[in-house]
């Protein structure tokens, strides 16, 4: 118990520290009206959006990892995020702008999730089948996205490519409010599932023999994960690896299994904030988007995670 509390407190403090650093990044704002406006309308919403979207991704990742009993099975890997991204690319191609990003991401994410869950439905959504079908659908969606990018005229292709590398730079209060609602609703729904989710790790037979409904839990958790990742893509574009790393890192810090929802959400927020802090750095006279940093750091971090958990046996 006390370990969980210590870890949670440390993560929350770390998040606050990063948020403070981000508010000050680029120099302390002036004490005049302009400084106040920069702080209130640019920096604060950006920090909050990063934390909230990170929490969404952390939650969605740990939900799917727990329910599929597979640390690699996250919404970006099994095609939920890919569906959202492909639909956004399509909406930019059709409308020529970012106007329909939100409905496109939601519709795309949910449609690909429905397709994958439908294809894997036989026999109560067996986890292996769901992961493999999801990976296949994801690769197809990535290819489709590439087709859209290649066909798009130069300017539009640039806009699509920029969107497909997640960034918090265009944050505004409307997005923050929506993200806060999504995190609250998603967190509450995930909390409702957590009793059953925490007891899925002895296999489906054991879960059913103990009075749970593993198929229903999987459907609920997968649907919720798809919702969360679609909103995240809609709000900021894809941020690779945040959903994948948050859960395993939380479990390693807590030295326990299970969904570890609050800690995974906090770690997701922490990772997103750290990526955005890196995104403020000047590289070759410009700056790189947060999604690029999570992608750059994510792969090696995942390797370290796999190697260290393997050593521990």
């Amino acid at each position: 118990m006390s370990r969980a509390r210590t870890v949670t407190m440390a993560l929350a403090l770390g998040g606050l520290l990063l948020a403070a650093l981000l508010l000050l990044a680029g120099g302390a704002p002036g004490r005049d009206a302009t400084g106040a406006a920069i702080l209130l309308h640019i920096r604060l919403p950006r920090v909050l959006l990063a934390a909230l979207v990170g929490a969404m991704l952390g939650l969605s990742g740990t939900l799917l990892q727990t329910v599929l009993r597979n640390p690699l099975a996250t919404p970006d890997v099994v095609g939920f995020g890919g569906g959202a991204a492909a639909a956004v690319a399509a909406s930019i191609a059709v409308t020529g702008g970012l106007g329909l990003v939100l409905p496109a991401a939601l519709a795309g994410g949910l449609a690909s999730a429905a397709l994958i869950l439908g294809l894997a439905a036989r026999g109560g959504l067996p986890p292996q089948a769901l992961v493999m079908i999801g990976v296949a659908v994801n690769l197809t969606l990535l290819a489709l996205t590439d087709v859209l990018l290649s066909l798009a005229p130069g300017l539009q292709a640039g806009e699509t490519a920029r969107f497909l590398t997640g960034s918090f730079a265009s944050a505004h209060w409307g997005a923050v409010a929506m993200a806060a609602l999504v995190v609250m609703a998603g967190g509450a729904l995930a909390g409702g599932l957590s009793f059953g989710l925490a007891r899925m790790d002895m296999g489906d037979d054991m879960a059913r023999a103990q009075g749970l409904a593993p198929g229903g839990l999987r459907l609920g958790a997968a649907g919720l994960a798809a919702m969360l990742v679609s909103f995240a893509v809609a709000l900021t574009g894809p941020l690779p690896f945040v959903a994948l790393l948050a859960g395993p890192l939380a479990r390693a810090l807590l030295r326990q299994g299970g969904p570890v929802l609050p800690q995974a959400a906090l770690l997701g927020a922490l990772l997103a904030l750290a990526a955005d802090l890196a995104a403020r750095a000047t590289v070759f006279g410009g700056s790189l988007p947060a999604g690029l940093y999570t992608a750059l750091v994510g792969g090696p971090a995942m390797l370290v995670l796999i190697l260290t958990t393997r050593e521990r046996g």
């Binding site: 957590s194 009793f195 790790d201 054991m206 023999a209």
Partner: protein, 256 residues
């Protein structure tokens, strides 16, 4: 608790797995299901636990067909331990035994003092109190199986279903586990049904032995009544010698 299986039939891809299984499980007794690989004995046990839905026929518990009960109601009446249960990562012995309380808990119904007392008692009855804080992964094979049985005890059900509880265990551990099951049955009158591979152990530790072949019940009775050279040859399709033990505690089976 009356557990009745009536004319269970189940076809899987054209093959009859269960071909009219009818059984009346003796309450308060230990029943062993024996038979060759693929005979349908494990499927019969899983049907009893409500994990397999037969094409026709059904299982009833005190007169209520299982499909009319919720999963949770079934889990409060029947505890089931699969053949190779998965050990959750990093779980302690106590944590594992607490899992048995699942059908009695929920999102808004956390563990209470009563639940903890049931868990304590399950640990005590399986001799695991001193090991409660240990990580279950560090236990010996026999201790680990005892911990899983303690988990089913914490489920606090009148019926216990065990699918080959002695697989992968050395002989002393097999005996340890079966002695424990027998003692639990004698202390509390819990009805036990288990699938066993070893006929000698089945005869020694069960009140009733049920022979299943090709999805049908071939024989059903006390070991002395039903375990004979003829019945076993019919069950396994190879000649076997059955010798009555001098202490009168069941027959012993040897290859011809």
């Amino acid at each position: 608790m009356a557990l009745i299986l009536s004319d269970l039939r189940l076809d899987l891809s054209g093959r009859a797995i269960l071909d009219g299984i009818a059984l009346d499980i003796a309450p308060g007794r230990v029943t062993a299901l024996i038979g060759p690989n693929g005979s349908g004995k494990s499927t019969t046990l899983r049907a009893m636990a409500g994990l397999v839905s037969p094409d026709s026929g059904g299982v009833s518990l005190n007169g209520t067909p299982l499909p009319q009960m919720s999963r949770r109601e079934i889990a409060r009446a029947l505890a089931f331990l699969p053949q190779s249960p998965i050990l959750p990562e990093g779980i302690t012995v106590r944590g594992l035994v607490e899992r048995g309380r699942t059908p009695h808990l929920g999102s808004f119904r956390p563990m209470t003092a009563t639940d903890r007392a049931v868990v304590d008692r399950a640990l005590d009855r399986t001799g695991l109190t001193a090991l409660a804080a240990r990580r279950a992964a560090t236990l010996s094979g026999g201790q680990r199986q005892r911990a899983f049985i303690a988990m089913t005890l914490a489920q606090d059900t009148p019926v216990l279903l065990l699918d080959e509880p002695t697989t992968f265990l050395d002989l002393p551990y097999q005996i340890e586990v079966l002695r424990l099951v027998r003692a639990l049955n004698q202390d509390s009158g819990q009805t036990v049904v288990m699938v066993l591979h070893d006929i000698n152990l089945a005869c020694r530790f069960a009140d009733r032995v049920v022979g299943i072949r090709a999805g049908q019940v071939l024989f059903d009775g006390t070991p002395e009544e039903v375990v004979t050279g003829t019945s076993l040859e019919a069950l396994y399709g190879c000649p076997l010698t059955v010798i009555p033990l001098p202490d009168g505690r069941g027959p012993m089976v040897l290859p011809e």
